[in-house]
Amino acid sequence: MEEFRTLIVDDETEFRETLVSRLQKRNLDVTGAASGEEALKIMKSKLFDVVILDIRMPGGMDGLETLKEMKKIQPLAEVLLLTGHASVESSIEGMKLGAFDYLLKPINLEDLMTKMAQAFEKKNAHDQKIRKARIKELLRFPGRVLEFDKEDEKKS
């Protein structure tokens, strides 16, 4: 599996930490965040390919709101929603907002990793398209190279 960066957002510490440990053990670049706010803060300083987001996080920022904010910060990151039965409707709502898919808790690691890989693939394909589009544009308007460079700098 190709190396990709994953952010796990879940307020259930036990769950989040175990999942992070297990994924790290499988040599993935995984970061954990305990709340929506924390996740947004991290995303402002680091780019992610896949985000795993628990949709039901009482107390802090709600999953769907977090999703909306994430899409503003990193529109290209694919988001996988984690949900219990009670929040399936929210997941569907989330998918309308641009989430890649949703998974029902409790999840088994293999399923999760498969979904993550699919998400990453999609993100990759998307990136490729963008790159191609850019090249086309560059060929047409060579003068814009400078502007793109600036944008890239900002992102990283």
Binding site: E14, T18, L104, K105
Partner: protein
């Protein structure tokens, strides 16, 4: 229990209505009859009294006329003249010509010697001195006798007047024809049972009565009962029937003219009235009974229907309330269970990851650890499945909208179950309405509903029987009924069959979630699912789905 309650109500209404309507009817009928009977009786009595009085006057007049004629004849002739039988015969002829009813005429001198006689009997020369009437005439001047047999041995009566001619006094005596007299009296006889006769103060017949009794024989009537001028009595007559007797005294209260009439004949008009009244009342009673029974039955039937409808509605309402509450609770519980399950699963996964390290592989309990972890995962999976099943319907909160052919879905479901049914000797019959509309819905979910219902039906029958699947269009709904020939669902279980985890199957064979899930699926489609079960006969589950026409793409 319920039926008898309605029957009791019906009985009560009928009884009260009948009493309330019969009472005035009967009271009214009886009162009208009594009043009219009284009026009628009064009228009859008045009539018979009038007839007795009129007849008595007529008879009295007859006697007075005869007496007057006789007196006039006596006064206008002298003894000498009349002793001559030629003259007497002439006089007799004149009298009979003008008045009639005289049988004979005779002259009696003051010694009681019958000195002259005209008539059919040989009475001349007889001496009446010893006769009681002789003295009477001599002292009173006129005399009308009672009927007696006399010398001629035939019942008759006489009128006699005394003429005072200077020192000599003599008597002119005539016999009244009893036949003519009797005919006059009898002219007051009316109808088949009416009679008219005369009795004297001793109750002896003076004329022949129409029925029993002879002239001069004693009558059963006691004349002393008749007071005043005219009296009406009511007595049991000779035939044992009630009879009216109207008596009117005449001839200076010596004779009593009696007119009798059997009450039954007189009252026949009233009897006809009574028959009509009774007939009308009976007709009314029959009408009231029929109407009352009919309307009451109708009303109670309607009431029962309304009650049943209401009960069914209440049951359905309570059911859906209950299931909604259970659903809400189950969802909450499921979520709370899922979270720890998720953690447990991750933790065991982590443990398994760690076990891959070499240091653990060497441990003597390595196999034990692995088994334990596998067992934990297995049971987490089991718990997860229960929760998933319980909320299975919720997995697809928004059912997919696709074109669903209900009949095809039923047939597919039956294909799946056919083998299972055949093994158990159960015949699945279908009666599917052709040309059901295609509806928009989730075929997989609908199929799950049919699968649950039909497999439940097969399980209910156990071995040998039939399952009937019927689909019909009913207004804006499609109804699919699944009927089995199983033992039916006991009444106390009927309200629970849709509850989650309610099962009567052996533990391990059924989760008790099938109907719960089916119920929720159908409800989400905007339909209902109902059951009708008669213990011992079988059960029918009916799915009613609203027809939602698919949008054109």
């Amino acid at each position: 229990m319920k039926t008898s309650l309605y029957q009791a109500l019906q009985r009560k209404i009928i009884v009260i209505t009948l009493i309330v309507s019969f009472a005035p009817l009967i009271i009214l009928g009886a009162t009208i009859y009594r009043l009219s009977a009284q009026m009628y009786r009064t009228k009859v009595e008045e009539q018979i009294e009038y007839r007795a009085k009129a007849q008595a006057e007529a008879v009295d007049l007859f006697l007075k006329e005869r007496t007057a004629i006789l007196a006039a004849m006596a006064d206008t002739h002298v003894y000498r003249e009349l002793v001559d039988e030629k003259n007497l015969s002439h006089l007799f002829q004149v009298m009979n010509l003008r008045a009639g009813a005289f049988v004979d005429l005779g002259v009696i001198n003051n010694a009681g010697q019958h000195v002259a006689y005209v008539g059919p009997y040989d009475l001349k020369g007889l001496n009446y001195y010893q006769q009681p009437w002789f003295g009477e005439v001599m002292s009173k001047g006129t005399y009308i006798s009672d009927v007696y047999v006399g010398f001629r041995l035939i019942p008759h009566f006489i009128i006699a007047v005394r003429r005072q001619e200077g020192d000599n006094s003599w008597i002119l005596r005539a016999t009244i024809d009893p036949d003519i007299f009797g005919a006059i009296v009898r002219s007051a006889q009316v109808g088949k049972t009416g009679d008219a006769f005369i009795i004297n103060a001793e109750g002896v017949y003076q004329t022949r009565p129409r029925f029993e009794g002879q002239i001069l024989s004693p009558s059963p009537l006691d004349p002393s009962l008749f007071g005043g001028r005219t009296t009406v009595l009511e007595r049991v007559g000779s035939q044992g029937r009630k009879t009216y007797y109207a008596g009117s005294w005449l001839k200076s209260d010596k004779w009593l003219l009696v007119i009798s009439q059997e009450m039954a004949e007189e009252m026949s008009g009233l009897l006809a009235t009574r028959t009509v009244v009774v007939f009308l009342i009976i007709l009314g009673v029959i009408g009231i009974v029929l109407t009352t029974v009919f309307t009451t039955r109708l009303a109670v039937h309607r009431l029962k229907e309304a009650d049943e409808k209401m009960n069914a509605l209440n049951v359905q309402l309570m059911q859906s309330d209950k299931l909604a509450a259970i659903g809400k609770m189950a969802t909450g519980v499921a979520h709370e269970i899922n979270n720890p399950l998720a953690v447990i699963l991750q933790r065991t996964g982590w443990m398994q990851d760690l076990l891959q390290k070499e240091e653990f592989q060497k441990s003597e309990n390595f196999a034990e650890f692995q088994t334990s972890i596998r067992k934990i995962e297995e049971h987490v999976e089991r718990a997860r499945k229960v929760v998933h099943n319980m909320l299975g319907y919720a997995r697809k909160m928004e059912p997919r909208l696709e074109d669903v052919d209900v009949n095809a879905t039923v047939n597919q479901t039956i294909d799946i179950l056919e083998n299972y049914a055949r093994i158990n000797n159960i015949d699945i019959q279908t009666d599917l309405a052709p040309e059901l509309p295609i509806i928009a819905g989730d075929q997989a979910q609908l199929q799950q509903v049919f699968l649950n219902l039909i497999s439940n039906a097969i399980d209910a029958i156990d071995k040998e029987g039939a399952v009937a699947v019927k689909s019909v269009r009913s207004g804006g709904e499609i109804h699919v009924a699944v009927t089995d020939t199983g033992p039916g669902i006991p009444a106390e279980h009927q309200s629970k069959v849709f509850d989650p985890f309610f099962t009567t199957k052996q533990s391990g064979k059924g989760t008790g979630l099938g109907l719960w899930i089916s119920y929720n699926i159908v409800e989400k489609m905007g339909g209902t699912i109902t059951l009708n079960s008669q213990p011992g006969k079988g059960t029918t589950f009916t799915v009613k789905i609203p027809i939602v026409v698919p949008q054109k793409k």
